[in-house]
């Protein structure tokens, strides 16, 4: 691995939710293993893309990293400290250094607050600076994300989706975080606006040295913005690699299926490309298949695949894959 300083390290992370039934007395009838063995490392100033289909546990991983929920197992180290089971008092100062940007900026912005109040609120909550200093800092943040000063006194509903995402980003930056978990930050935006926000993320990273855990299902956007990529399937990481390797030569059959399914915006290329489709759909995490979770859909499955779950095996050169085809 490169010598770059590790900002965030996640090891064998598990987040299990009890499934409750009953109207008056809730009784547990099962467990959803939303995250069940996730590990990755994010270097300071870099971006790790986290991809996978709906329900595979991306958001849950993001929330666990920010300790907005408590993991059932594994370890999370942030800026060198183990925060896996840290209590509220220990977390409070660290929370400033880890922020989140959401997919739906509208749902996460208080409609009755002005833009300036929304962006400056974290400063007020943490009692940072004098009111005048906070006003100045807020104005700076608003300019930093490319909004005009006269927008400060307006309300979220007056803005388009892309502008609202800028407001959400300005707010996330208020406390000078080192890590931002971006959960599908551009997927609700029109393509013509996505590029504006992607460029803003890139510029902010260069200027402020931010690290991003970039959650998305758009594989082209992830390839564009992330140096490293982790692919999830049903609660587990199936492959991690530098983006060049992952996209050029995916090793896990699921990564291969995912990349083959993404159409390339070129009719000439698409006309030459074979379109193999992987059968089936992602099974319920309530009741995942035995062994490798992907085996019922995998075109290369061997008998062992339905028996034993393959471990995430380090292949060197920053690549790791969890697949029996890439064993000893």
């Amino acid at each position: 691995m490169s010598a770059a300083e590790t900002l965030l390290e996640v090891e064998d992370l598990r987040v299990h939710f009890p499934v409750l039934r009953g109207i008056v007395f809730h009784r547990p009838v099962g467990t959803i293993k939303a995250v069940d063995g996730v590990g990755f490392r994010l270097a300071r100033g870099k971006t790790l893309g986290l991809v996978g289909e709906s329900g595979c546990g991306k958001s849950t991983t993001g929330l666990a990293v920010l300790r907005m929920l408590t993991p059932s197992g594994g370890a999370i180290r942030f800026e060198g400290r183990d925060i896996t089971q840290a209590d509220a008092d220990t977390l409070r100062p660290l929370r400033r250094r880890m922020q989140m940007v959401y997919q739906d900026p509208y749902g996460s912005l208080n409609p009755r607050m002005t833009v300036a109040d929304i962006v400056g609120e974290p400063l007020a909550v943490h009692d940072i600076g004098t009111p005048a200093e906070r006003r100045a800092a807020t104005a700076e943040l608003i300019a930093l994300v490319g909004l005009k000063p006269d927008m400060a006194d307006r309300y979220p509903h007056e803005f388009s989706g892309g502008q609202r995402q800028r407001i959400g980003i300005a707010r996330a930056l208020a406390l000078r975080p080192s890590l931002i978990v971006c959960d599908e930050p551009v997927s609700a935006l029109d393509v013509s606006i996505q590029a504006q926000i992607v460029n803003l993320f890139e510029d902010l990273q260069t200027r402020l040295g931010l690290s991003y855990l970039f959650i998305a299902h758009d594989l082209a956007v992830v390839r564009h913005i992330s140096e490293r990529v982790a692919v999830m399937y049903l609660g587990r990481i199936v492959e991690t690699a530098d983006r060049r390797d992952l996209y050029k030569a995916p090793l896990h059959p699921y990564t291969q299926a995912l990349l083959a399914a993404v159409p390339i915006p070129s009719p000439a290329l698409e006309a030459q490309r074979a379109h193999p489709v992987v059968a089936g759909e992602v099974p319920s995490p309530m009741n995942p298949p035995r062994g490798c979770h992907f085996h019922p859909r995998c075109p290369h499955a061997k008998p062992v695949c339905s028996e034993t779950a393959p471990a995430l095996r380090d292949l060197g050169q920053g690549r790791a894959v969890a697949c029996h085809l890439h064993g000893d």
Binding site: V191, A195, R243, I264, P267, E281
Partner: protein, 325 residues
């Protein structure tokens, strides 16, 4: 040239609301030939769905108001049909598939009944025969164990399976045209690929034309023969798919192509966004609606609205500036 299967001329649809009148679709003209796939692309609110719904007169009037110079389908003037005539056409000669199949499926009826019903109603098949045909259709859309699945209810199906049921229903009456409005937007990418491959295979097999509404430029490149690009309720460029992708000529299309990251390009390119914000249809500027965001605007753009004009073989654009590349 043979008459196209569907020919739309001067279609405009407006909605009257509190904020005044919104022209959701403004003077739109296009053709769909028998058996071809035409994609309609454009950003959210550009009028893609309203265009399709207006052709089938599925817009409630009021608050909507549909006007058209001509809408012809399979040699017939749709403008001359009354409500029951249009209704007979829908689900028979023209079928529609929506993004959220749950909203078009009846939660209280078995899947078998719903697939068999149009066969019984439009094709006059007796029920036992219609149910047997429904089984065959479910098999055709690759639903495993179709005999048993006839008795299932929609909520027992996954999103991908429900969309397969919608396709089966659309195919039931052997339509000449299927309009699919964002049929896979809610689905995972591997399931999206399954559904679109299925639609392609089945429409090719039966020679059914397809209008595919989507905002995914990759999907368009993979499946469309021709493309209509919409912006603020108007068509701004139309042409064969390869022409639109390789030599786009409207500044909006040129901008779209430059703004998307692609799996086939070198890593490290800076994306070139289209600056500004999407238009507010209730407050469109005079002249070209794209002008506030357009890097190529000329003086005339501010005053006069450009019309869709031919610029090459089967290639049209609505723009005052003669952009190349």
């Amino acid at each position: 040239m043979a008459e196209p299967l569907l020919s739309v001329r001067g279609l405009s649809t407006s909605f009257r609301g509190e904020g005044g009148v919104v022209r959701a679709v403004d003077d739109v003209s296009f053709d769909v030939a028998a058996g071809e796939t035409v994609a309609i692309v454009g950003e959210s609110g550009s009028g893609k769905s309203v265009t399709a719904l207006s052709v089938l007169r599925l817009i409630p009037e009021p608050p909507g108001r549909i006007e058209a110079k001509a809408v012809r389908f399979a040699g017939r003037d749709l403008g001359a049909l009354d409500a029951s005539g249009i209704q007979a056409l829908r689900g028979n000669d023209i079928a529609m598939i929506f993004q959220e199949p749950m909203s078009s499926l009846n939660p209280a009826l078995t899947v078998g009944m719903q697939v068999a019903e149009p066969l019984n109603r439009h094709r006059g098949m007796p029920w036992p025969e219609a149910l047997a045909e429904a089984t065959a259709l479910l098999r055709k859309v690759q639903i495993a164990d179709p005999d048993r699945r006839l008795a299932s209810y929609p909520h027992q199906f996954s999103g991908g399976m429900r969309q397969r049921v919608m396709i089966a229903m659309a195919l039931a009456c052997r339509p000449k045209l299927i309009i699919a409005d964002e049929p896979t937007t809610a689905l995972d990418v591997t399931v999206q690929a399954q559904i679109l491959e299925l639609l392609k295979t089945l429409t090719r097999e039966s020679g059914t034309a397809l209008i595919l509404i989507t905002h995914d430029l990759g999907v368009v490149a993979r499946y469309a023969d021709r493309v209509c690009v919409m912006y603020a309720g108007r068509l701004v460029e139309t042409g064969p798919a390869r022409t639109i992708y390789e030599t786009p000529r409207h500044p909006y299309t040129v901008g779209l192509m430059a703004s998307i990251p692609r799996l086939d390009e070198e890593i490290g390119r800076r994306l070139v966004p289209i600056e500004g914000q999407p238009p507010d249809l209730s407050a469109l500027p005079p002249g070209c609606a794209f002008r506030p965001r357009c890097p190529r605007a000329v003086a005339r753009c501010e005053r006069e609205r450009p019309a869709l004009e031919p610029i090459g073989p089967d290639h049209h654009k609505a723009c005052w500036n003669d952009v190349r590349g």
